[in-house]
């Protein structure tokens, strides 16, 4: 009787753990909303660091949740949602903040903003993904 109870508990545990593992394997990439940033930096400095040494800056920022502050250059609608470009002091490049679906930045060109997102690296612009407004 006792053996059967233990077996039943083990089976139940296996189902719960298996369900949790399956659920986490199906989860979409996390949005930055409601999380605490790993690093904070000015948009001009972030861009300058990538321009100076892409690999070195990549080691520091890529995959991290980065809070970037700067002046909004433009706001447009991208593939996923709103896309906010922050000034870098270089007209050829920007910090591109790709907002997470359902996130509404409520920003306009010329506004001062603090945005957090996951850094994907530098390709003419520095790209932050799944962004939200930093609080």
């Amino acid at each position: 009787m006792r053996k059967r109870t233990i077996l039943l508990i083990l089976l139940l545990l296996a189902v719960v753990v298996g369900g949790l593992i399956y659920r986490s394997s199906q989860a979409p990439p996390a949005s930055a909303a409601g999380r605490t940033a790993d690093l904070s930096v000015a948009a001009t400095d972030l861009f300058a660091e990538f321009r100076k040494d892409e690999m070195e800056a990549g080691k520091r920022y890529n995959d991290k949740l980065v809070e970037v502050s700067g002046i909004v250059r433009s706001v447009s609608t991208g593939r996923n949602g709103k896309e906010v470009l922050l000034e870098t002091g270089d007209p050829m490049g920007a910090v591109v903040c790709d907002f997470a679906v359902n996130e509404k930045p409520g920003l306009s060109a010329g506004d001062a903003a603090s945005i957090q997102g996951y850094c994907a690296g530098y390709n003419m612009d520095v790209l932050l993904q799944r962004c939200s407004i930093a609080h």
């Binding site: 989860a27 890529n62 995959d63 593939r79 996923n80 390709n123 003419m124």
Partner: protein
């Protein structure tokens, strides 16, 4: 008189630069999508931030895509793609450098759809392969150019090893779709 000559000299000096700039077309939000289809699982990823430059007069074309900018439906797929297969910390970009070859006598600046072939070096995961693929370039009446290209890539050709545990989930050959809207730079 002296200042006029100076202005003329300056203009002549800058002319090649101006001409070169006029002929360049570019995009920062081109799209590359790839599909992997197996009986076990279908995988799709999109990179909507592909940078590209095209020079119609010479046919020169270049692409650059951040590997980490490929977006997957599931976080775990994205993680495996970057860490286990593409090793994106070590090889952060996939690039293409080549030439658009129009059919004899075809003028790509003429409005309409143009069947072309694109030939050049595709570098992924630090391994370069020379490829030739068919593409369509559509020139709008206002001069905008849309480029669309479908081709296949074998991960093994770029030194990407797929562990035997997941081999049945990842196709040997991936379908790649490139879609770029160019504007004049």
């Amino acid at each position: 008189m002296r200042s006029n000559r100076h202005a003329l000299n300056t203009a002549l000096f800058l002319l090649p630069l101006v001409l070169a700039a006029q002929d360049k077309w570019g995009s920062r939000d081109g799209e590359i999508t790839f599909f992997s289809s197996t009986p076990m699982e279908d995988i799709t990823a999109v990179n909507p931030k592909v940078a590209s430059v095209f020079v119609p007069s010479t046919g020169a074309i270049e692409f650059s895509a951040l590997v980490k900018a490929f977006e997957f439906r599931k976080a775990m797929m994205q993680e495996h793609f970057n860490e286990d297969y593409m090793e994106s910390d070590q090889f952060p970009k996939a690039t293409f450098k080549g030439k658009v070859i129009a059919k004899s006598g075809d003028d790509l600046t003429r409005p309409g759809a143009h069947a072309v072939s694109v030939e050049g070096d595709l570098t992924m995961h630090g391994v370069t392969q020379h490829i030739t693929v068919p593409a369509t370039m559509t020139t709008a009446a206002d001069g905008g150019i849309q480029a669309v290209c479908d081709f296949k890539v074998k991960p093994a050709d770029h030194g990407i090893k797929v562990p035997s545990v997941v081999r049945e989930k990842i196709a040997e050959s991936l379908d790649v779709k490139v879609k770029i809207g160019y504007t004049k730079l």
